[in-house]
Each structure stands twice: as structure tokens, then as C-alpha cells.
Amino acid sequence: MGNIKTFGASMQWSNVLEMVHESRIDSVGLNERVNSLATRSIKKDSKLEALSMVVSMCDLTTLEGEDTEGKISQMVAKAIKPNPLDNSVPSVAAVCVYPSLVGIAKEKVQNSNVKVAAVSSYFPSGQVPMESKLLDTKYAIDSGADEIDIVINRKAFLEGDYRKVYDEIVALKEVCQDVHLKTILEVGDLKTYENIRKASLISLAAGSDFIKTSTGKLSIGSSRQACYVMLKSVLDFESETGVKAGIKVAGGIRDAKDAIRYLVMINEEMGSDWLNPESFRFGASSLLDDVLKQIKKLKTGAYQAGYYFPRG
């Protein structure tokens, strides 16, 4: 295990090991802190601002076998103008699709500021040889993806082969070059807070620009607790290396209220500098619908129905 310095890796392996081995988490304290952050009262004006912010941080996502060109163009239209009747609602940050649909998505976003993200490295399981993961990623980038979401090798991670997890991310970052790389930890598979912290640090050290909670394909998606562990890892990593990474939460965040709780946590633990789409994202399919409903509810005072908002 030599100290190989490769493209994009933010920290050499020997240092990674040191950090990883120090991972100890007080879960009782963590739960208490996270729960107390969830009880902050948000006043109406702040809520409206927060909801607008949530929209601008959304990665509007469709990752299904049934995705078609039509479905993607519908989703992209919604991503650019989430509520056609209200111009004050911003565009979302990005649309997130499978590699084979990147070309279509790219064509549809045209010159809007919506980015195209692709999941690759054989999302969601990642259970293929490395060559295939590299090819998958390269294909997505060649098709024009601005951002790449990869999954970590959970098999290797759970077997204790952290080096392999690190090396794979390093190799994928090399393919990405300056294309934004988000690494999915799939916290539902990792089970413990210590594992989430270890996986976060390994992914950050290997050069990930973002770490992301989940694929959204498991019944256990994101949780505020997992996000808390990850944000602490990001902060620790920043103080160690000076490299500032972002966080994306995805999977199971369905309502506006829950999304705002994440924002509160980021604001209080990391500071308002992190409250922007460059540092924090939501992976969303149904979340956006609820946020749009709540924005209109705040503006009109009437509870809204989903069928008055665009599908996609």
C-alpha cells in the first residue's frame, strides 16, 4: 500500500487511514442534537425564502427503467420552470438521469442554468467490474453530463477493503477530471454511524466534490442523523485539508417540512455559507411537488392540490 498521489485525490491513503480509524460517534448525543434542531420554529417569511431555496437546490430526478425521451423532456421543462404560473419560483439546480438519457436531457436544458447530472458506475448496486464502471462514467461524460453521481463499492466497504473503495473513487474522479463528482454512500447499506463517517471520509479523501446519502432505491433512504454525520465529516475534512466539499441528501425526503429541517441543520452546524446549490443539494422526485404546493399555500392561504402543478 504505497502512497500513490493520483489526479483529484484530496488526501493520501496513509492519512485517510488515520482519520478513518478515529471514527467514534456518540449516537445518543447525536440523536438528541438532531432532534432538537428539528424543533426550530420558522416564521412565514423565512419559510417562503427557505422553500425557494429548496427548489434551487433540487436535483430533479427520474431513475426508472420506464424513462423515455418524452418523460425526460417533460421533467426538464419542469426543472427550468417549476411553476409556470409563478416566475418568482427559481429553476432547480439540476436534473438527474441515467447515462443513456444524458444526451436527451442536455439537448432539452439548452442554455438554461439547469445542469445535467448522470448516475453512473452501475447505479444503484455498483456490482460490476471496475472497467465497466469506468466505461459507464466515461459514456455519461461524453454525452455531456455536467455532474456525475457514483455509488461506492459497498461490497468492498463491508468486507473491510477500504483501500479498494478509495481507489475506485480515485479512478472514477480521474475519468471525471473537472466534472463535478458526487459519491453516494448508500447509508441504508452501511447501517452504523461509524460506517457512514468512515465512508464519508474515504469518499472525500478520494476527491469527491459532494458526498450523497442514498440512491433512493432502498427503503431506508436519507435521514437527518446520517446527514449530520456526513456534515461533521465534511467539516472535519475541510479543517484537515482545506478542501470544501458539498452534501447531497436523497431518498425519502418527501415533504417541504422535512426539507426545511435539513436546511436548519446545515445553517446551524455549518453556517449560512453552505446554504447554496454549490454546497448542498436535495435529490428529489416527489419533494419538489410538495414544495411548490407549500409555496402557493403560503402566498394564497389556501391548501393546494397536486394536480394544479406540472408533472414530471
Partner: protein, 275 residues
């Protein structure tokens, strides 16, 4: 013996819940003083979310099963007849009137149970056209109904504000002011009759507190007022409702087949005749 008192709660999504506001209002009857949940804006929001879900389940239930569930409701009330009569007498009704009210209620439930798999044949039709196709008006339930029950204390009256829309497959939020103790007792029989959760939610309180929220809520498709409101109240409701094109029916008919008509929406389809 310890005297155990019942806590009356709203019935939402198959569960007995207190108002999220924690507020109650007092109702004094002959036997004792009742504290009833004072429904808030957020309770209405939760009830509508539940009713949306209940509508999906209840409207896709086969008419045959709907009939059986409604019939089971009559069985439940029959079994609890005495306690209903007692409660009505606490409200000041004579025993004779109380028994009559319950008997009529049971009969009406059975009548609507029978209608559950027949209303579509009766209310829909084949339209006369002079071309080579069939033109059919097919009836569908409208969706989520908010029903304000009448001011007389009567199980039958309460039922007649619920049954017509429930029979055709709408989900109903039943709201009572004067009838509240009775309505919350009735919720227990609903709970025992296999209605899918959310198909019928029962709330109590002061209508004026939630008038605006109900009439503005986009996901409520129809507001049925079985109680006379002042002109100002009705006008406010209609104005609020216009934003979401919500239907408002004031004191709709509760007679026979005409009772279900306000809760139906017509879909007309045509189909070529084979030659």
C-alpha cells in the same frame, strides 16, 4: 366502582385523535358535561390528506363490497341501539322519538347499501344519437366531500348528510356542531364496519373557525351544507370556493335517488356500433 369517562376524539384516518391545537369546547347535556375536540385549520388539513387517500381506496372498492360494508354498519348500529337511544334522550328527545330515529337510520343505511351496486345503472344512461355510435353518460364520484351536518340532534339526519355521497364512492369529511357527541359515538361504529381508513372522517367543532380553510382548500371537491347558514356565510364560502371551482350545495335533497346526484360527475364516451 370507579366511574370511567370516555374522552371524545375526532375520528381521522381510522384513528381517534385529539385536535392538534389541544383545544376543546364544552357541550352540556342532561346527564353531564362533554368536552369535545375543537377542530383547527391543521386538523382540516390532515383530514383532507386522509380523505384523498381514502377516496382512492373507497372509490376503487367494488360496489358489491361497498354494499356489504354499508350493510355491516347497519348491523353495528342495531347492536348498539340502546346506547344510541340513551344518548338521544340525554339530548332531550323522548324515548319514542329516539327509538324512531334509530330505526329510521338503520332502514336508510340498508336502503343505501342496496343502492351501492345499482346507482350507476339508474343515474347513468345511453344518450339518443342518430349516428352509428353509442353515446354513453357514465357517472363517477366527484371526490372528497366536506359535509356540514344539520342542527337537529338526530342520527338519521347525520346519516343522510353522509350516506348519499359515501354510497357512490366519495370520501367524506363529516363535520358536526350540534350533533357532535352523537357523531363521535357514531365514529366507533364506522370503525367497526370495515370502511377503509380515510373514507369517512368525523370531526367536531365550530364551523366558523374553519369556514375559510374548508372553502379555500383546493383538494376538497364539494362542500355540502346540511345546515342553514346566514347569507354572509354562504356568500363567503362561495367566493372562496370559486378560486378552485369547488362545488357548493346548500341543503341538498336527501330524497331517494336525487340525493346522490350532486356527488356525481358525468363522463360522456362514445363507441362505434359494429355493423
Amino acid at each position: 366502582m370507579i366511574d370511567i369517562k370516555k374522552t371524545y376524539k375526532n375520528y381521522v384516518h381510522g384513528k381517534y385523535v385529539r385536535s392538534e391545537s389541544g383545544k376543546t369546547y364544552t357541550k352540556e347535556l342532561k346527564n353531564e358535561v362533554y368536552e369535545l375536540p375543537l377542530t383547527s385549520k391543521k386538523d382540516i388539513r390532515d383530514a383532507v390528506t386522509s380523505s384523498k387517500d381514502g377516496y382512492k381506496k373507497w372509490s376503487s372498492t367494488t360496489p358489491y363490497l361497498r354494499m356489504q360494508i354499508l350493510y355491516r354498519l347497519s348491523e353495528m348500529i342495531e347492536g348498539n341501539k340502546e346506547s344510541y337511544v340513551e344518548l338521544l334522550m340525554y339530548h332531550g328527545l323522548t324515548k319514542q322519538k329516539a327509538i324512531k330515529d334509530i330505526d329510521e337510520s338503520i332502514q336508510n343505511i340498508v336502503w343505501f347499501a342496496g343502492l351501492a351496486d345499482k346507482w350507476e345503472q339508474l343515474a347513468g344512461n345511453l344518450n339518443p344519437v342518430s349516428e352509428e355510435y353509442f353515446n354513453i353518460s357514465h357517472q363517477n364520484p366527484i371526490g372528497v366531500i366536506f359535509s356540514l351536518s344539520g342542527s337537529d340532534v338526530s342520527l338519521n339526519e347525520l346519516l343522510m348528510s353522509i350516506l348519499p355521497s359515501l354510497t357512490v364512492g366519495c370520501s367524506v369529511i363529516s363535520y358536526s356542531e350540534e350533533n357532535s357527541v352523537l357523531a363521535l359515538k357514531f365514529a366507533e361504529d364506522i370503525n367497526n364496519s370495515d370502511f377503509p381508513s380515510g373514507s369517512l372522517n368525523i370531526l367536531t367543532g365550530k364551523f366558523e373557525n374553519i369556514l375559510n380553510d374548508v372553502s379555500k382548500h383546493v383538494e376538497i371537491n364539494l362542500v355540502a351544507l346540511h345546515k342553514e347558514l346566514g347569507n354572509d356565510g354562504l356568500k363567503a364560502i362561495e367566493q372562496n370556493a370559486s378560486e378552485s371551482v369547488k362545488r357548493i350545495v346548500s341543503q341538498p335533497s336527501i330524497e331517494g335517488l336525487s340525493s346522490i346526484l350532486p356527488y356525481l360527475e358525468t363522463k360522456t364516451v362514445w363507441h362505434p356500433k359494429g355493423t
